[in-house]
């Protein structure tokens, strides 16, 4: 018995005759709502995201290609770029190890305080970067908790590269762990159990089974982690001390140049960071497109 017949027009006194649009579905809003929303979205994106990005490149090239290229031959600019790369090269691999370890612990084991740890991992996302930097100053600074010991041992952390690395690690810690936790929870431990039952030891299981299963998610996390590590400003600004040619990363160098009204130079370095961001975005999109099912989903950061 058919409940109702779709194709037969039946006069129904309870329902007013609404104009029917071709292909319009009963659960969809009318056309003007749809187009208004789309227009608001596009206008907002253009104003807030696309325009600033375009400005970066326009300003960078305002005084011509020669000035643009010259900005990079400045001694301090080179030092800033080198320092940024150095910080990323240290921070990202460390976070890779920490992230995998944390994700493994949370996804595969049950232990007391697990929910708390999971929440704690997100702390760097929710805390102000200035605070992230301040805590290290309070810990390792000259007047900090460990300041005296460090001074005696002639180790300088604050206003030096180690502090910048520490602050960067802190700020970028969640990227890899957050990417891997849902992925590993979703995959469960059956593959690992299978490998163990076949005689593999823990190390073999990790390299041959676990790692291949998470490799795209891991790459995705590393990518985002790297982009943030190179671009971090707030926390690094607090611990760096802004010593030109020594403790200035690219974002800090940009600020200094800008404050000195060297717009062309500031935007030239900024364009480099913007290009890094675009490149990250492209690789990320390719990864999502090709290996979407092996990533933890489409959560944006």
């Amino acid at each position: 018995m058919a409940m109702y017949e779709e194709d037969v027009a039946v006069y129904d006194s309870r329902r007013p005759n609404e104009p029917t649009f071709a292909h319009s579905r009963p659960t969809t809003e009318p056309g003007w709502v749809k187009w208004t929303l789309i227009l608001i979205g596009i206008a907002f994106m253009a104003l807030v995201i696309v325009l600033p990005l375009v400005v970066v490149f326009i300003e960078a090239f305002r005084k011509g290609l020669e000035t643009y290229l010259k900005s990079f031959s400045d001694r301090n600019a080179v030092a800033a770029i080198q320092l940024t790369l150095l910080v990323a090269v240290i921070a990202v691999p460390l976070n890779l190890v920490f992230g995998v370890a944390a994700a493994w612990a949370i996804a595969k084991y049950e232990f007391w305080g697990k929910a708390f740890l999971t929440t704690l991992i997100d702390l760097p996302f929710s805390i102000s970067p200035v605070v992230s930097g301040m805590v290290y100053v309070l810990l390792f600074g000259a007047q900090g908790w460990f300041g005296q010991y460090l001074q005696d041992a002639r180790i300088q952390i604050i206003f030096a590269v180690p502090g910048i690395v520490l602050a960067t690690i802190f700020v970028t810690f969640p990227f890899i762990a957050r990417e891997l936790i849902p992925l590993m929870q979703d995959q469960g431990s059956q593959d690992e159990e299978a490998a163990l039952s076949l005689g593999a030891n823990g190390w073999q299981t990790f390299w041959r089974v676990t790692l291949p299963n998470i490799k795209w998610g891991l790459l995705y996390g590393v990518l985002l982690c790297n982009a943030r590590a190179m671009g971090e400003f707030g926390a690094v600004s607090v611990v760096s001390g802004h010593i030109r040619g020594k403790t200035n990363t690219m974002p800090l160098h940009i600020e200094i140049l800008y404050n000195e009204y060297n717009f062309a130079g500031a935007f030239a370095i900024a364009s480099l960071l913007a290009m890094l961001a675009l490149l990250t975005l492209i690789i990320k999109t390719v990864l999502e497109f090709r290996y979407g099912d092996e990533l933890a989903g489409t959560r944006g950061h």
């Binding site: 159990e193 490998a195 163990l196 005689g199 593999a200 030891n201 089974v209 291949p212």
Partner: protein, 345 residues
């Protein structure tokens, strides 16, 4: 390999998943752990494998106490419910995995590993599929790869967790027959977990019926089906109907009438009568169970009717020939050909 499970207790955060379970598994037999979900059957299988550690009790492989051995040391072939094939490896690599991860001293030469894997592929009837990846295989094929992978390490015992759970009915039947053949060919002691009683009855030499962390009955399919020890087993294995009855004078009474069934040594008082719906005969009214048809439905080649017995509206199900003229409200008298009585607790 004989396996002995002795007084095993397994608790998950204080909740007992297995409560004092003992079981002897004989070398070379195909044994089924059967029970509803939450009965502890998978936990028992994982304990035998070494994927879980018992809270108390011991597990022996032959004469050797395996309780504290790791899963690697126990050398068991475990086939997981969802197969757990390594998706980044081809079929051949999956099957060779267990041999390739062996320490150098006991690892066969690469050529030998390949040869062995190819033989196993033949055994599971997947010749020519060696360079496929798990995603390119059907469910039934994955199942067979998982089995070949488990067999590759020459396990002392083969353990299968719901081996046919994720397959459709047709493939299940084929694979069931095929698993029996493989077992007869290789002679491995095999334990498999299932919630499908039909599968267990058809495939296994012996059945272990479990419920709520305990073993209810162990026996051959015939023994379990024909001589269920308790109402749970009767109700869980095969179709069953039950009816509260009175026992007096060596006879079964329903609603103050003797129904012509002997009670043998069942004690006087309340009891529960169990019988199989298909194992009844229709009789003229008299000393028999009689009821009014309350509902009927066609089940394959027979018609299953629900009868309301007596005034207190107890319902039982029996099978009638599909062309039996009984309609609603028809009065039917019948006698079970075989029945069991369990004293009310």
């Amino acid at each position: 390999m004989d396996i002995r499970v002795e007084h095993v207790l397994k608790e998950f955060s204080r909740y007992p998943a297995l409560d004092d379970v003992s079981l002897d598994i004989r070398s070379g037999e195909l044994i089924a752990l059967l029970g509803p979900s939450g009965s502890g059957k998978t936990t028992l299988l994982r304990l035998i494998a070494g994927l879980e550690r018992p809270t108390a009790g011991q597990i022996f492989f032959g004469d050797e106490d395996a309780s504290s051995k790791t899963v690697q040391e126990r050398n068991v072939g475990f086939v997981f419910q969802a197969y757990a094939l390594f998706r980044n490896m081809s079929v051949l690599e999956n099957i060779s995995f267990g041999l390739k991860v062996r320490p150098r001293a006991t690892r066969p030469a690469n050529a030998d590993i390949r040869k062995r894997a190819m033989e196993l592929l033949d055994l599971v009837q997947l010749s020519g599929m060696h360079d496929r990846f798990p995603q390119q295989l059907s469910g039934g094929q994955r199942q067979r790869v998982a089995l070949a992978r488990a067999l590759a390490i020459e396990p002392r015992v083969l353990l299968l967790d719901e081996p046919f759970g994720a397959l459709d009915a047709q493939v299940r039947k084929e694979l069931r027959k095929w698993l029996r053949e493989i077992h007869d060919k290789t002679g491995h002691t095999t334990v498999f977990v299932t919630h499908d009683q039909e599968e267990a009855l058809e495939l296994a030499d012996r059945l272990v019926v479990m419920s709520r962390g305990k073993i209810e009955q162990v026996g051959s399919p015939d023994a379990i089906y024909d001589q269920p020890l308790n109402p749970f087993v009767f109700g869980f294995i095969g179709e069953s109907s039950s009816l509260p009855v009175e026992i007096d004078n060596g006879e079964v009474w329903v609603g103050g009438r003797a129904v012509g069934l002997t009670a043998d040594d069942t004690p006087v008082g309340h009891a529960q009568l169990y019988f199989r719906p298909h194992d009844v005969e229709l009789v003229p009214e008299g000393a028999a169970l009689a009821g009014v048809v309350a509902a009927s439905r066609r089940v394959g080649g027979t018609r299953r009717v629900e009868l309301e017995i007596g005034g207190n509206a107890q319902r039982v199900e029996i099978d009638l020939p599909f062309d039996h003229p009984a309609g609603e409200k028809t009065r039917i008298a019948f006698k079970p050909k075989r029945w069991k009585l369990y004293p009310a607790t």
